[in-house]
Amino acid sequence: MLEVSLSHDFGSFAVDVAFAAPAGVTALFGASGAGKTTVINAVAGLFRPTRGRVVAQGEVLLDTERGVNLPARRRRVGYVFQEPRLFPHLSVRSNLLYGARFALKAAPGPGFDQVIEMLGIGALLERLPGALSGGEKARVSIGRALLSKPRLLLMDEPLAALDAARREEILPFIERLRDAGLPVLYVSHAIGEVARLASTVVLLDAGRVLAAGPAAEVFSDPALAPHLGGAEAGTVLVATVGETAPDGLVRLDTDAGPVWVAESPGAPGTRLRLRLHASDVILSRARPEGLSALNILPGIVERIEPEPGGRAFVRLRMGREAVLARLTQRSVTALGLAPGVACHAILKTVAVSRDDLGAG
Amino acid sequence: DPVIFAAASMKTALDEIATEFTAETGTKPVISYAGSSALAKQIDAGAPADMFISASVAWMDDVEKAGMVLPDSRKDLLGNTLVLVSDSEAPVDLPKLPEVLGDHKLAMALVDSVPAGQYGKAALTFMGLWDKVEPQVAQADNVRAALALVATGEAPYGIVYKTDAAAEPKVHVVATFPEDSHKPITYPVALIKDGPAPAEAKAFLDYLGTPKAVAIFEAQGFEVK
């Protein structure tokens, strides 16, 4: 549990932010210059706001009113900076091990070999950071923070400089850390990452909190879609892993019906969050036959929200869940969709990628 | 105006005489005070000086050898006396100096290069004391620095000129070296060729011999030759 509230005026820019982050990953999301780094710096103890209060797992790190301001070195946060900030005079190995000597021996944390293996930096250990590539620097910087055995992880766009494959190796690691109980404050512009990792999303805009709450709520709110990038709007369904068919497909049971996916998200019974992109959902009045798409979920139109550019968001109610679909207005008319009309949502199995499945 | 190159130790007296001279003649001598060695080298290098007053015979010889001295203008201007000073008042019997000194320091000017040091070394050698005190000699780069070592109590004894001892209230003259123990202490003076104001310089040189100037020199403890 992390509580953050701060306000500060830079003259040309003012922040005034307050939010609470429950366990798990909390994503700070917002446009460039929205104040994400500023907030994270305040949590790390690198920036002292005029007024502010930061409480992490019950310990008060900052309370300007009561004059408490724990220095950065005693906050035990692992901070992956937006720019790598590696120590130029130390080898990659020494950079990685820098925090270890100051860490509590008893504190839990990933092992050295595990981290360098996951980050693919084994071949760089004796190099100096100066001649590393951008992505290599970013990876070493992640490793350095992880190996300091922090009790709170602050990550400021940690994967921005990395390719998809590498990202795919690091994200599960962060998920595991999160599942082991390490709270993470995560800044990213990649909504896929955020949707996958974060249970809580704090949406910042010009130094203010625009929305904060469970990821599912924030992402399925059509009003926030412009801030998330319209193409990225979608719904998050709570799912339980079911049987694996002989052909390798896995059934996820949701309140809206079964969804077959091609990715293996965990053992049967595991609870997950399944993200459906609104743009991926096709609607049909009749139950369609002979389609390659395996997932056909019946529902009732609940709300239609027109969008500029000839499009509309249609919300289907399916039991206790709701699914958002993004259609053209022409289709809305052609299908005669209106609140109360029954129809089917069609979803391709392969459209559900690993990025869309997050642990519940 | 005449440019006078003078040994730094003459500043007090010479400034005073120059003031008198200016009052009487309207000519204002410009006096550059520095170590005799520096001044001599500068004159050798063509410095625009009209007159050189050296604290050392050797450096005047050097300038003369370089052909910079106006013929027949050189003469011995002043003399001085070498004394033993101490921060205590008790007089010292010079032959007992090594015993009195114990393992303390004896402050002198550089014994091989600075005139006061050379005279002092000669005197001590003459008296058969040099070998005994040599290890205890602390050599300063000039007499004033040697005197300062005594005045601050770092060295209990020092060998300096009488003129220096007279003005320092913290030290006392505890012995005077016999005149025959070293070569006479002489401050030679000479006019220099190609100076900017030879006539005025000559006038000032003459003025140095007037009773008024002599009185000022003597008040400082110099012997006028």
Binding site: - | K11, V30, S32, A34, A38, Q42, P48, R144, E168, Q220
Partner: protein, 231 residues
């Protein structure tokens, strides 16, 4: 000012003039030499480096004497400069400035060089890709970035110039109104019986004047550094 005799007052002004001219005139050379030493790979540069250090390593009297021999009216360089440009150093305030400049040069070069070596070449590369010719890169990127170093070097050299004595008095003598700087005047007082108080008085003046100048430049340097340091 009754605290200072007119002659002493002249010495104060002369010292300031000498120090200022020494620093101002040597600064371009200091930057140039520092650039060479920091950046160039010419094979003979260790010699230049050695030469720059000489005034620090040798007793000032030796430097002064060397100046007298080479820049004196009869010296090879002095003679040449006089014949060709009509420039005279010997026994002029210009000579005092030359001596001060030479004595302060190692300090100045070292500070500037340190700053140059700390400049991130990536910024200069960025300027080059934007089309800036080498001189423009220097003037618009390198120079502003090393400004704290240049100022530090200038301050050191200025302070040194205000205190320089050995080389100056050996080179240009101690002629009141022409080459008598504050340190020479102090020296003269230290050479006469009972002159210590007088010397201390002048030393006090020197300290006030020079430190004033130094601390003011410090303030400027600090502000410059802060402006850049925000990066």
């Amino acid at each position: 000012m009754s605290f200072l005799s007119p002659e002493e007052w002249t010495a104060v002004l002369l010292s300031l003039k000498v120090a200022t001219v020494a620093v101002a005139a040597s600064l371009p050379f200091g930057i140039g030499v520092a650039l060479l030493l920091a950046r160039s790979r010419l094979p003979g540069l260790w010699l230049l480096n050695a030469l720059v250090h000489l005034p620090l390593i040798l007793p000032p009297v030796v430097t002064g004497y060397a100046l007298l021999l080479s820049f004196g009216r009869k010296g090879p360089i002095g003679g040449f400069l006089y014949d060709v440009f009509g420039l005279v150093f010997a026994f002029r305030w210009t000579g005092a400035a030359l001596a001060a400049a030479v004595m302060g040069f190692p300090l100045m070069v070292r500070a500037i060089r340190l700053a140059i070596e700390a400049v991130d070449p990536k910024l200069e590369q960025a300027a080059a890709t934007l089309g800036a010719p080498r001189i423009a890169v220097f003037a618009t990127v390198t120079l502003p970035l090393i400004l704290p170093g240049v100022l530090a070097g200038a301050i050191l050299a200025f302070a040194k110039a205000m205190g320089e004595f050995g080389a100056t008095i050996t080179f240009v003598s101690n002629i009141p109104g022409q080459t008598q700087t504050l340190p020479s005047a102090i020296y003269a007082f230290l050479q006469i019986p009972g002159g210590e108080l007088q010397a201390a008085r002048l030393a006090g003046v020197s300290v006030v004047v020079a430190l004033g100048a130094v601390l003011i430049s410090e303030g400027v340097a600090r502000r410059v550094a802060k402006r850049i340091g925000g990066a």
